[in-house]
Subunit: 216 residues, 2 copies
Amino acid sequence: METDILAKNDHLAHANRALFRRKGVFALNLVSSPGSGKTTILERTLGELAATINCGVIEGDQQTDNDAVRIAATGVPAVQVNTGAGCHLDAHMVRHAAENFDLDHLELLFIENVGNLVCPAAFDLGEHHKVVVLSVTEGEDKPLKYPQMFRAAGLLLINKTDLLPHLDFDLEKCREMARRVNPHITILEVSARTGDGMNAWHSWLAAGIAAARAAE
Amino acid sequence: METDILAKNDHLAHANRALFRRKGVFALNLVSSPGSGKTTILERTLGELAATINCGVIEGDQQTDNDAVRIAATGVPAVQVNTGAGCHLDAHMVRHAAENFDLDHLELLFIENVGNLVCPAAFDLGEHHKVVVLSVTEGEDKPLKYPQMFRAAGLLLINKTDLLPHLDFDLEKCREMARRVNPHITILEVSARTGDGMNAWHSWLAAGIAAARAAE
């Protein structure tokens, strides 16, 4: 039955991917532990990009619409999906949530998954890339302990670098561990709080948006 | 089928609970996001208690035996359970892992679950209490966003309080949110790094060990 669920999800994810491609939407699936700073990254990113790029956000959480409220405050349309007991978003949820956006004009769609470094790894949503966020407070060994997620991701954002002076966190060791499970992963360091490193992330986004538009 | 899996797990958890009770073992199921500091809490706790109390640790992780190696360095017996793609420990895994300990002499058994604030909430392992660890770096709203876990826990350990001066974290708001989803939860604040607040945690453990021994 688990195989059936995944096969059915893959089928729906394939349809989402075709839709995003047809509409020229660059879609990202943000995954991480709870509290790594995904929403804060989005708030700052949207604050800087939303004036020039048509953005939308799908917010996944077990409960509350806290994150959608935070995103809506930036002026960007946000749709909250509550999974209840569920531990991840699936392609079906994303398809329905995506109906709330004007896809003909949307350029960048962020899908913030439920905070969970395990289960969302197995569920393709039709995104261009999974972006895994790791806070430096979580320790550098997480890529080895949760390899499926780091293997599935195209980009690793190491967040909360402003806290590095107060922690025993070895940035180079973390990068090495991430590359050990996924040699092709792109790694960027940011502090969503101070804004440090956000330019490189915005450049990465701009390249993806341009590529999605070209492939439309 | 999900209901069947949970019913089967509950049955095995019931057997574990009876076994722990018969042997007078105080068993705790430590749950949290990845990187909240469960293993560091255990290292410091065992360093202080293991001379006078017979302890054992079951370590759950998707991959690696990093945590079991860290625990073994304290001199306390540790058994690693790798769940592979699995997102939580279950009662069956715990039953088999428990066979590695001399239960007639064991007084305190820590079961460190896979770092996941969602799925382990639904799986009873036969423990006396779930202890949910929340790092102050994760933000104060986690009890509302992951209510099932905070509802299932008997104790909340708010960890990494040494980082509070560098964060925008409202301790009182976090306590209030935890009590909103679980009015009966006990809340203690600790820094496993500096040792701050660990005495209250040790007293809580001592009370549980004494009660388990009395009920034997």
